[in-house]
């Protein structure tokens, strides 16, 4: 019986990553079911919803894009909204990039696809820690294992949700379900006053501009909210500095 396990192998890192991401199933699986169902209802096509969920692997942007498409927005508006919602991936990518520097393009493609909120949050402390150990050359296997757990969970539950949605009668007012899902994502994101200011400004501006073509109200509202949040944050930071000085 081995007393101390050697974790400096690809297999061990892969297993550690899978284990570390298993608890995220509790969050990913319900969102997969809901996301797959909303997608199938929007596309009115179960196969399309299944392929979309498995391939896009970015649930929030998928649901936002589908909502705009359903509201009759042109494609460039749909895709622009997806891009804005996905901007945080630039930050994630920049943060994990040093840990994938030594890898081939094939690996970088694969690991980039497997980047998600959950895999990023759990993997980055491990990648940093292992970069100074004997496991360093294999630490991307941790990210691979964790990423596969999240992607497989999302894919299986989204396909299940899409199949279930086709069994639901279409006349029971499910149009509002995407908005309820958005509320469930947005409310926990309002953690402090600057985030609340961002939401309030975005809400007022988007309602005031609701009649504009091309969902322009969404973009002006969204950007105004982001700017309002940043302004309130920098004002708050200045206030704290002044209080500390005086």
């Amino acid at each position: 019986m081995e007393i101390e396990k050697n974790v400096a192998t690809p297999q061990a890192q892969f297993k550690l990553g899978m284990k570390a991401l298993l608890p995220s199933l509790a969050a990913v699986a319900p969102f997969g079911i809901i996301g797959g169902a909303i997608t199938a209802l929007a596309l009115k096509n179960v196969l399309g919803a299944a392929i979309m969920s498995v391939a896009v692997f970015a649930g929030r942007s998928q649901l936002i894009g589908l909502q705009l498409d359903k509201d009759g927005s042109p494609l460039f508006v749909v895709f622009a909204a997806c891009l804005i919602v996905n901007l945080r991936n630039l930050l994630y990518g920049a943060t994990v990039a040093p840990h994938f520097k030594h890898l081939s393009w094939k690996w970088k493609f694969l690991l980039a696809f497997l980047l998600s909120d959950q895999n990023f949050a759990i993997s980055i402390p491990h990648l940093i820690k292992e970069s100074r150990t004997a496991s360093a050359p294999y630490r991307h296997y941790f990210f691979l294992g964790g990423g596969l757990v999240v992607w497989l969970t999302w894919s299986v539950t989204a396909v299940l949700g899409a199949a279930l949605a086709s069994q639901v009668p279409s006349n029971i007012g499910l149009d509002f379900v995407p908005h309820l899902a958005f509320i469930a994502i947005l409310v926990p994101a309002i953690k402090d006053f600057p985030a609340l200011a961002a939401a309030l400004v975005a809400g007022v501006a988007s309602v005031a501009l609701a009649g504009l073509p091309w969902s322009a109200g969404l973009f002006v509202g969204g950007v105004s909210g982001i700017i309002a949040g940043m302004v309130m944050e920098s004002r708050r930071a200045k206030t704290i500095v002044i209080e500390e000085v005086s």
């Binding site: 991936n89 930050l91 990518g93 980039a112 947005l186 809400g203 988007s206 949040g229 940043m230």
Partner: protein
């Protein structure tokens, strides 16, 4: 929805999602994210999602509808409270749908 439109949506969304994940991994060391972009990211979800939800809830038939006769507004408020207390998407949707069905049953629009 036409098959061609579905294919375009799948290809476009897949390309955008992948590009957002791959870009910084690919160009490592050649460019840093501007500081303002990093600071703005945490406001994207509260701003963009509110900008999607607020008009869908508050604007009915082209006019502002604030009051208890607006079923979607009541349902959104119920869902907001449930989301805040439980942080659970499933409960939020169940509570919101229950509220909207109840409101429609008692004659709200």
């Amino acid at each position: 929805m036409s098959a061609a439109h579905i294919i375009v949506l799948i290809l476009g969304m897949t390309a955008i999602a992948f590009a957002s994940k791959f870009t910084m991994i690919a160009i490592l060391g050649k460019m840093d994210l501007p500081a303002w972009l990093g600071r703005s990211l945490r406001f994207v979800v509260p701003s963009v999602l509110t900008a999607v939800v607020a008009p869908a809830v508050l604007v009915r038939g082209g006019a502002l509808a604030v009051g208890p006769s607006n079923a979607r507004l009541v349902a959104a408020l119920v869902a907001g409270v449930v989301a805040w207390r439980t942080r659970n998407m499933l409960w939020t949707i169940i509570a919101g749908m229950a509220a909207i069905w109840l409101m429609l049953a008692v004659g709200a629009q």
